[in-house]
Symmetry: none
Subunit: 216 residues, 4 copies
């Protein structure tokens, strides 16, 4: 027959969001399995049992972390679409820079790595994430690309492959930030990196004759 002891601290504002924030940070850092509920609770400043007032299980907490992380991404995308300029180059630049500013550089930036790591163990959740975040994000990019092609500004590249090629460096950077960056040298400046990505992707590696002429 348990516990006659009991100091007590009331923490009325232990919102579910604080719990998912703590969980996100630890899941990203150590992975789902290797993260102990004790640690999550401690990081959120509550006791282990409190987690179960808000989530049915560790798995439910994980799903909440992902599901919750999806909303800001969608909203960011929709805001960008709404504010879209006519100029495809500007639009593209806005997309990529904003993704980093609103997602990649925040704790949400750990979600791609997390979801990637656990896709094999939570296929249904991965499917949901794919539909709601990935596919939708690519659709936005494809729109921008297509607009550029239609205006004769972009070459007629495959929009599906190209949209993937456009996000890959950003996701890669976010993944890096939440993995090797923690222990390995060679830190990359994110903004310079994103700028370089945009520049490379717009103009390519190779020297252009027309531009050479300008310089001459």
């Amino acid at each position: 027959m348990p516990a006659k002891t009991a100091p007590r601290r009331r923490r009325k504002e232990a919102r579910p969001q604080e719990l998912t924030a703590a969980a996100l940070a630890l899941f990203v850092e150590k992975g789902f399995s290797a993260t102990r509920l004790d640690e999550i609770a401690a990081r959120a400043g509550v006791s282990k049992g409190t987690l179960y007032l808000y989530f049915d299980s560790k798995e439910a907490l994980f799903k909440a972390v992902i599901t919750e992380g999806v909303v800001p991404t969608i909203e960011a995308g929709e805001a960008l679409l709404a504010a879209s300029a006519d100029d495809p180059v500007t639009l593209l630049r806005t997309f990529l820079l904003s993704w980093w500013a609103l997602i990649g550089s925040t704790p949400l930036g750990g979600i791609p790595k997390l979801m990637m790591s656990e896709a094999g163990n939570f296929p249904a959740l991965a499917r949901y994430y794919d539909e709601v975040v990935i596919q939708r994000g690519h659709a936005l990019l494809r729109t921008a690309i297509q607009r550029g092609v239609d205006q004769g500004i972009f070459r007629a590249l495959d929009p599906v492959l190209t949209s993937t090629l456009l996000v890959a460096p950003l996701v890669h950077l976010a993944n890096w930030k939440h993995s090797f960056a923690g222990c390995c040298g060679g830190n990359i400046d994110p903004l310079a990196y994103v700028d370089a990505h945009i520049d490379l992707v717009l103009h390519g590696l190779t020297v252009r004759h027309d531009e050479q002429e300008k310089h001459s």
Copy 2:
């Protein structure tokens, strides 16, 4: 008398590699923590105790998986360097296509995802992997880029940032293959993707006036 009676007894020296192969596949699919030694043993067709004849612990097995995966990568890189043509474009193309052919499309292609997922839990190993694989790979790419710049074929882009931008789409594809590809639609053809990447990176998105002239 014996016609095609296949290899009967496994050579003993092949045993550790069978174990690491099984471990790699499962670690990539489910993560290090979520993979049980039982499963690895079962997949390799041995009993659980046998693992301990070859590896001191689960962690040692993990390190062997990574360490072993490093060698082919280095060797591939060195072979490429040795076979390097003078033409930087060809060299770059060879690098990227070969990485996919020799690493990305094989079971080794799961290592980047695995190492990324577990970098937080095995920082020393991550550091080793970074030094021996990542940094060295980037050095190779930087060499190719620099050669192109020196020959006036490539623009004078930052070689550090650019080399990262060049690998990112390949790593991204490998990661995708070992995560979402298992449960989500929209399969990408790897070869077309790599080709599109090379094309995009060489020529950029935007229409070139000089090329337009060619078409006229």
Copy 3:
């Protein structure tokens, strides 16, 4: 003006009894350990914390349930003794029928099963129950038996063993009602059963020669 507008506020002094009633039902159904305080509170229509306004602990609640269940039993026994006819057969019949009517067929009928199940975990309480209920009940029965023996109506059977034999079928029926009856067929009609018990116990299984003569 108020016609049949039912009792609105429960009288406060009735609250503890509502709690023990809910607890008794659940303890009997599921056992002490397997019953959660949540369930008891829910069944009584109060919150979990309210239980602690009336009982110090789950164990205290259990003791109250038993202790409270003891009183009606004693009172029933004393009433029977007071109303005792001289006729030992009538007295015996009254005892057994009344026990079923006042105890066995009411929620109190679950107490023997409950106390039996938990005697090992609450020996002090079991001792109390034994002294106050069981021993006293047997004493009443022994009195009736002895009276019959003294009057030459009953055979000179061992009063201690016989009193146990007389209650056993009643307790057995009550136990059955609160265990197998909930899930198994073959329902027994309690009144017929008690009648059969009295008949069997009075006359025995075997055919009597003197009675045979009556039939001839």
Copy 4:
């Protein structure tokens, strides 16, 4: 990463039966919920994990305890039926005495109390027990009773009610032994009790005139 410690004792003969025996004793003493797997393991001289080599869960262990306890009961019944004399009185006496000798006085004698206590939590198992043990046992008794009635030795009592009345005192004694007997005085001698039961049930409480004549 766990356990570098490890003393080891091989106990090859830790049969499932030893585990169920330990579990039975503790389940009977303390109830299913209140019994810790640690205790069961300790009593059987194994570690907690060993239980899971033989049983999937605590509940599975419980079911095995009951299921296993059923077999000796059935076998005992069948042996009795096979050895049945023609004399119904002898047959009845054999039934009751043998039940006590083979079941009631052994550890199996705790099963009725255990099954009764947990019937509410394991209705399917209770149903199984009812069908395979209780109903079958009653059928045996009804056969003996009917035979007596047919031979004109027993009165024409309701066989269903009567068979229940015949077992009730035995089950009651077994229950008592595993509950109050552990903490309360007034120990009953089982053999004298069973004898008294048989005597009471055969001849009844009341004095018989024909027998009185014998004594005169």
